[in-house]
Amino acid sequence: MTHTLHREGINKDSNDYVFLAMVEGNDPQKLDNLAELFKIILKHKPLNYTGKALFPDLPAEQLSQIYKRTKIGMAVFDRREDLFSALREIKDRELGVSVVVSGLFPHIGEDCKKLGLPMHTVNYSLGVWGKREKLPDPKVTEITTMCGHGLVSFNLVQSLLKEIRRGKKTLEEAAEILTKPCVCGVVNPKRAVELLRAML
């Protein structure tokens, strides 16, 4: 389905943990709670989050008001323990907002158990079917599938690789550019650096 499900190439060394919270309907109390929830998330220093690309300098207080309007927000962490701490705080606050975590199933299972939470509903990816010959090198799609809406183009990855090889951009600069098209803020820039490095 959507956002972060079909991330390709995830393994135990990927350091890639994605958080999503969403309110169904327009209950004003729950929307306030969504804003509260994101203050907690931002406090735990995600690498990237919804709104970062569009409003890089907006303080957490104002960003959380944006989530109230969009009724959804996302964030990506490279440290599982940071996401775990955020989840524990959110659970303790009993905010009543739906939360979805993306990552390796064994990791999520372990963390849910420690938090005393169920794996209520699970979404499995069966991968890409159909005309796979239309796809580039799988290393490229490991980067581009970090944006579930497909806004990071295959060509942008290839183009940035050329610039890195020519010494015109660093790996970090290229990764930063790759995070920008994804308005949900779920492209993991540290993972992008490692994937680009592996393609040089």
Partner: protein, 237 residues
């Protein structure tokens, strides 16, 4: 999207940003191929054009569908949800959309990064309709269906191209094998890719019957995925 020929300095720096490769050089001009552009807005938002040459056009029906299905900044009218317009399992702890014993199925045509026309989406929706399986109501693809018994769209939308669109439905677990067999036959014949996903609930003892089914039937699935961790409960009084 259009490029102003007066403002464009033909630097071509914008070309790689387009997710579907619709920005091209024609002669000595950089142009957006109207038929290929999915109106996702990435080019204009990227800030790569220092000359302000991108022009966002007013999009009439049915071209507006391109933006609704490709630009996550634009919510779908039917569901009031941006992106691909469906909440699917994200709020399943509140909505109970997929229940114990059921499987949610999503076939996302065009993903990753290839795009699709509604001709290909209709090939899937027609086959699902043949099986007498209703499509998920709270999904913008379902809202476009003109004849639910046949799974067909209005003819004027068929050539519209979008980054992706999700055919979404739910079935009893017992029907999953039948649906999987259909998809195995159908999807290789489409002129695009499709990302396929399934949703299942855990039982009170922690078992997930859908996962057990996939393992038993040797249907491969990614080691990573999405889990709704059940925090979306009613507020405390």
């Amino acid at each position: 999207m259009k490029i102003s020929p007066d403002k464009c300095q033909t630097c071509a720096l914008c070309l790689p940003f387009c997710p579907v490769g619709a920005i091209r050089i024609k002669g000595k001009k950089v142009v957006v191929e109207h038929e290929e552009c999915v109106e996702c807005g990435v080019c204009a938002r990227s800030g790569v054009c220092q000359d302000g040459a991108f022009i966002k056009e007013e999009l009439p029906w049915p071209r507006i569908l391109r933006a609704e299905f490709s630009d996550p900044m634009i919510p779908h009218k039917k569901t009031d949800i941006a992106g691909r317009g469906t909440a699917e399992m994200k709020t399943n702890d509140v909505t109970g959309r997929v229940k114990s014993g059921e499987v949610g199925v999503a076939v996302e045509l065009g993903r990753p990064g290839v795009g699709t026309r509604f001709t290909e989406v209709e090939k899937v929706s027609r086959e699902i309709a043949q099986l007498k399986i209703p499509l998920e109501e709270a999904n913008p693809v379902s809202a476009l269906i003109r004849d639910p018994e046949k799974g067909t769209f209005p003819p004027e939308i068929l050539q519209e191209k979008v980054l992706s669109a999700i055919v979404e439905f739910k079935i009893p677990l017992e029907r999953l094998e039948q649906v999987m067999n259909l998809l195995k036959q159908l999807l290789p014949g489409l002129d695009t890719v499709a990302s396929v996903s399934l949703i299942g609930c855990s039982e009170t003892d922690g078992r997930i019957p859908l996962e057990e089914f996939l393992i038993k039937k040797k249907i491969p699935f990614y080691p990573n995925g999405k889990v709704n961790i059940g925090l979306g409960r009613p507020l405390k009084p």
